[in-house]
């Protein structure tokens, strides 16, 4: 670990904190339907979209209607991706002549993109046409991100409203988020990325003759426009197979730094939106502090582990950290920081191969996802995920003093706690359940690239990433098989929607409750005690659930590595 390394980490955290308030202010205005500086341009387009699609923007929806609208929207999104993938051979924008994508891979990818997972069983440059990249993937990158933010807004409204039966209008939330938040940032961001060296072209792959006279086919494409939303919307599905490690998908140290910032920007800002909507920004800062504590701890461990290197490198006298699977322009610190950022948020883009990380360095990304991706988290998904844990923490605090717990003026009762538990139980069910199948079913075992405990970790990581809708991988695992295409798609689907439905039920039930003013017996939720309590509940829940699995994977591998064992 170096001083310059730590300075990069501190600068990153400082900029995120600085962006939280202005972005939160802007997003609050957007979702309250107030005027913004972009309204003169965008308002006519917005009104036109409502008119043509028959949306009455004044009519709000009950939480059930809101949820059904969201589900219907995703059925359509699924069909578009599946359709263009299956038909890409006969559709335009296919200069590389990619053939139709297989049924199971198309199914997996379609589920992957509507759930904001963006797991890559596809090979990007080797499988997909430009049309699929744009109309299939880029489009759903926008809409799954907008959906996540819309759902978080519905839950936040549940807290901020009193005695109301509605939580907002899904169509309006998605449209506003896309038009006023995501698109304008992406337009500027795309140009920045191209300036840094990212291709943005519809032309064919380049045929080059290298200095030594060999032929090199260089894949290009409309990369920057997709990468902008891939990062901002915490989607993470790469244009190229190597994702953000590919020099075209992440050309410079600056593009890398800005990509990391854009993963966290909207998720962090939503904590401020929450604070503003419930009438006290300090509530938002308290939530962000919980996230910050867990984040910094994770960065420190991964950075330390990667800078330390591995026993096999030490045995050969190689110093300078674990550079296997990392790029020179990022080095140890920017690769470690990126890995923690991308798994804390539910992004899943990678600028280094997590499979080649040290045992402990790779364990932190795994833990980040197993905690439910609530450290900033996916855009929207992180916010509603964190609020579920807050509800549990408040419930525990209430049990200690024997009174009905309250949070930001709402009584937290049996229904909310049951729903929060239901949502959180989805994680172990899918992750541990499918991992158990994956390590005994012969066709699944054959997919492991590494032997010994590392092979187990590959499987555990795959189902953790899919269920958490992250999308990063221990990529040695051959995921493009019938077994993994189907089981991972199931995990992504259940991990996304079976968490959303209970969260929305909470939103509906909270919105109907009366708001009660704080009294002397109210547990203050803006202080250090609250932050500590939530951090504790998150770690205890995650620890109790996943420690045995971690002990079989990264922990035993770390001990084996130090003992000089190879597999």
């Amino acid at each position: 670990m170096t001083m310059i390394g730590w300075l990069q980490i501190i600068l990153f955290c400082a900029i995120i904190v600085a962006l939280t308030k202005p972005l939160g202010w802007y997003m609050t205005r957007v979702f309250n339907g107030e005027r913004t500086f972009l309204s003169p341009v965008l308002r006519p387009i917005e009104a036109g979209i409502y008119w043509i699609s028959g949306v009455d923007e004044k009519r709000e929806q009950h939480w059930l209607t809101y949820t059904v609208a969201m589900l219907l929207f995703h059925v359509g999104g699924f069909l578009i991706i599946y359709g263009v993938m299956r038909l890409q051979a006969v559709l335009p924008f296919n200069p590389a002549g990619q053939g139709a994508v297989a049924e199971d891979l198309s199914f997996n990818t379609a589920v992957s993109f509507i759930t904001n997972t963006n797991w890559q069983n596809y090979g990007g440059e080797s499988t997909l046409s430009y049309l699929v990249q744009m109309l299939g993937l880029t489009h759903q990158n926008f809409l799954s991100a907008a959906t996540g933010i819309a759902l978080a807004m519905a839950l936040i409204r549940g807290f901020s409203r009193a005695s109301m039966r509605t939580v907002g209008n899904f169509w309006v939330d998605v449209t506003r988020c896309t038009l006023y938040v995501l698109l304008p940032i992406c337009v500027v961001y795309t140009l920045f990325l191209v300036w840094q060296g990212m291709p943005q072209t519809l032309g064919p792959y380049i045929e080059a003759t290298t200095l030594e006279g060999a032929k090199q086919t260089i894949a290009v494409g409309p990369v920057a426009s997709q990468v902008a939303i891939k990062m901002l919307g915490t989607n993470g599905g790469g244009f190229f197979n190597a994702n953000a490690a590919h020099p075209f998908e992440n050309p410079t140290a600056l593009s890398n730094f800005v990509q990391m910032l854009s993963i966290f920007a909207l998720g962090a800002a939503l904590t401020n939106v929450f604070g503003r909507m419930v009438g006290n920004q300090r509530q938002g800062w308290a939530v962000l502090s919980v996230m910050g504590v867990l984040f910094v701890a994770g960065v420190a461990i991964t950075y330390w582990a990667e800078a330390n290197g591995t026993s096999m490198l030490h045995a050969l006298g190689l110093t300078g950290g674990n550079m296997e699977g990392k790029e020179v322009r990022f080095g140890i610190v920017a690769s470690s920081l990126f890995a923690v950022v991308t798994t804390a948020a539910s992004c899943g883009a990678v600028n280094a191969m997590h499979d080649s990380f040290t045992a402990l360095g790779g364990m932190i990304p795994l833990i980040n996802m197993e905690l439910g991706e609530i450290i900033i988290g996916g855009v929207g998904a992180g916010m509603y995920g964190m609020l579920l844990f807050v509800i549990l923490a408040i419930f525990v605090a209430g049990l200690m003093v024997g009174r009905t717990p309250e949070y930001v003026g709402k009584k937290i009762e049996a229904r909310e706690v049951k729903m929060a538990m239901l949502a959180i139980l989805v994680l172990p069910l899918m992750i541990l359940g499918w991992t158990a199948v994956g390590v005994v079913y012969p066709a699944a075992v054959a997919s492991m690239a590494n032997a010994g405990p590392h092979g187990f970790t590959e499987v555990l990581y795959a189902f953790t990433s899919a269920t958490g809708n992250n999308g990063s991988a221990f990529a040695g695992l051959t995921g493009n098989t019938f077994f993994y295409n189907l089981t991972l798609a199931t995990s992504m689907f259940v991990g996304r929607f079976f968490m959303i439905i209970p969260a929305m039920a909470i939103a509906g039930s909270l919105a109907e409750k009366k708001s009660i003013p704080p009294s002397s017996g109210t547990f203050p939720t803006t202080g250090g005690l609250f932050v500590g309590l939530v951090v504790g509940v998150i770690l205890i829940m995650g620890g109790l659930t996943f420690f045995p699995a971690l002990a079989l994977g990264p922990i035993v591998e770390h001990l084996a590595m130090n003992a000089g064992n190879l597999f």
Binding site: G136, W171, Q200, Q216, P247, A359
Partner: protein, 201 residues
Amino acid sequence: MLREIRPAIVLLLVLAAITGLAYPLAMTAIAGALFPAQAQGSLIERDGKVVGSALIGQEFKDDKYFHGRPSATVAPDPNDPTKTVSAPYNAANSGGSNLGPTSKALSDRLKEDVEKLKGENPNAAVPVDLITTSASGLDPDISPEAAQFQIPRVAKARNMPEDAVKQLVASNVQGRLLGLLGEPRVNVLALNLALDRASAK
């Protein structure tokens, strides 16, 4: 609930057209006008022929060139499309080795390559980036140490004084951005092009 069906179809199609077609196509046009070189892939031409991209590494095996990092990229096996064969710096199929910290395969490869490099330059410590594969398999850079390590070999193969090669390396080192972001590095293709130019003089 029935009245949610029309927006589910129409709104989806409108937003798909905006975000999936209008946005990427407009960005292609604007980016192509503002930054034509980058938008096309930062291609480098020599004598009118494309020799590669400034951002994409390529394979160098010849002693007279600086070598990049080992690459783990593969290509479909021409004899059996269900299998793959090693194809270093395959810029149409990026990827890493994905071998973990207790992988015997990785340990064996490292041992073999360290011996080879030590034979080439017994006087310096082997830089870790020169022996490990990159994440993309297309890393265009090596560390300044990895470039310095290769100076004796390149100078000998080209009959150039070591100091001249050393100077070329030094002038091709890119530092951290603002002294803070990223890592110092040397673009291998740029260095080798400069080397060819210097030899031609």
